[in-house]
């Protein structure tokens, strides 16, 4: 079996991830930040260690400005609904996932102005187009760090400079890059970094978070959810400090324990080394697939400008059929269709049919890429008959 669905969720995980979760369930177990006994404090320390790991990975200065959430979707909603008000203008790209696009469309109905800057057919965003879209009431720029459809990397740092020059907040959806591509929130000018734990951070599902930079004034932020935090229990108002303000309800501490182990594994291996490995896989897949008659590969076609996610189609074969046959006849597990990002597919010219997507990860090998390319070649040959 070849697992090529890492862009949806990474698998396998380093053994340390399951071990950390087992340790938590078997030996710790208590509610972090609620009680003061020894295992509750230990549980709090485990969650805190994960905040530190996130900070180390993305060069964020303050572990207390990391709020954990169930996934990047919650983190993105938290930032968008928390900071945008009717009358504000927000700029985004045409390569966004629905976890950005749907909340933005809903906010638009509530009076937030939205500009979707069009990207090139490879998914590239021209920073000058973002600059040109800025209005007097622009408050935020939201950017997908890398496309989950074609892997295209967006120019976050350049847009970060533009955002700061105009005193705007930059919110980045790092679902596809955290753990797979270097992120430095300070050098990149990222004010709000939303991440998910179950992809390249190699953690379990049900983990993610929002890293808030110093330019985000939380006194102007509305929490999405209010409730018990273990702090300020004498008061009926939500705490106004981070991370508690954004972390109501018992967190997924067992998941966060696994997330910390995943991030530690990434840090030990090194993001640069992971990136180099994945770039080699991506270029091998791109070159192999492009050489097949009848196969169209989308996106940059250049591993240096994309992640290890490669989307393609086979002439004469629906993506759904290709996906089924890759699974049943070749043991290759990938995702087909629209990948929750209709705007990105319209940009790439693959709407409404979608694509076949190979999402490669740190545990994949060149041999697996070669086997997958050979399988696509066999399907393409049949489709040509």
């Amino acid at each position: 079996m070849i697992y090529f669905d890492n862009a949806a969720t990474s698998w396998p995980k380093p053994p340390q991830v399951a071990e950390a979760m087992m340790h938590f369930l078997r030996d710790v177990g208590a509610n972090p930040g609620r009680s003061a006994h020894r295992t509750a404090v230990e549980s709090g320390r485990i969650v805190y260690a994960a905040r530190e790991a996130v900070c180390e990975l993305v060069n964020a200065p303050d572990p207390l400005r990391v709020a954990f959430t169930a996934n990047v979707t919650v983190a993105l909603n938290m930032a968008l609904w928390g900071l945008l008000r009717p009358g504000d203008h927000v700029i985004t790209s045409s390569m966004e996932h629905n976890s950005v696009m749907r909340p933005l469309r809903a906010l638009e109905r509530k009076g937030v102005e939205l500009t979707v800057v069009r990207c090139s057919p490879e998914g590239f965003l021209n920073p000058a187009d973002v600059q040109a879209a800025i209005r007097p009431n622009t408050r935020m720029i939201v950017l997908n760090h890398a496309s989950n459809v074609a892997g295209t990397i967006l120019p976050v740092r350049e847009v970060g400079h533009i955002a700061h020059a105009h005193n705007l907040l930059l919110l980045v959806d790092a679902a596809q890059t955290a753990g797979a591509y270097p992120i430095d929130v300070q050098a990149d000018g990222i004010d709000l970094l939303a991440f998910t734990g179950h992809k390249s951070l190699l953690g379990p599902m049900g983990t993610g978070g929002l890293v808030l930079g110093p330019r985000v004034d939380v006194s102007r932020m509305e929490p999405l959810i209010r409730g018990g935090t273990g702090s300020r229990s004498e008061r009926e108002e939500q705490p106004d400090f981070l991370p508690d303000m954004l972390e109501s309800g018992t967190p997924n501490a067992v998941g966060i324990a696994g997330l910390e182990a995943g991030i530690r594994w990434v840090l030990e291996r090194g993001v640069e080394a992971i990136r180099a490995h994945e770039m080699a896989l991506a270029q091998r897949a791109i070159d192999g697939l492009r050489a097949i008659p009848g196969v169209t590969v989308y996106g940059p076609l250049d591993a240096a400008r994309q992640t290890a996610t490669v989307s393609f189609n086979i002439a004469g074969m629906e993506p759904s059929e290709a996906g089924l046959r890759l699974d049943e006849e070749h043991g290759i597990l990938c995702r087909v269709g629209l990948h929750c990002a209709p705007a990105a597919h319209k940009t790439l010219g693959t709407f409404p049919v979608g694509t076949v997507r190979f999402g490669m990860g740190v545990f994949n090998t060149a041999d697996e890429v070669d086997a997958a390319v050979a399988a696509v070649e066999a399907l393409a040959r049949e489709a040509r008959r």
Partner: protein, 74 residues
């Protein structure tokens, strides 16, 4: 002579863990303990330091940008 202590109250358990790390890094002995009932009805933890170290602790925490809610002798 038995030592006398003060407790440093911070916003939450996360803040207490951070405070403990800052104090340890500054070489100030400290221990995380439940907030004594007579000080606050909150269910959280606080950081206990020797009374002689209170000023140094306050300086270290402030330098780290950590907000202190209160410091009380116990």
């Amino acid at each position: 002579m038995s030592e006398t202590y003060s407790v440093i109250l911070v916003h939450s358990t996360s803040h207490a863990i951070r405070a403990e790390k800052v104090l340890r890094a500054a070489g100030i002995p400290c221990k995380m303990i439940p907030v004594p009932r007579h000080i606050s009805s909150d269910c959280g933890v606080c950081v206990r330091v020797g009374r002689a170290d209170v000023d140094a602790a306050r300086r270290a925490l402030e330098a780290a940008g950590l907000e202190i809610e209160d410091i009380r002798d116990i």
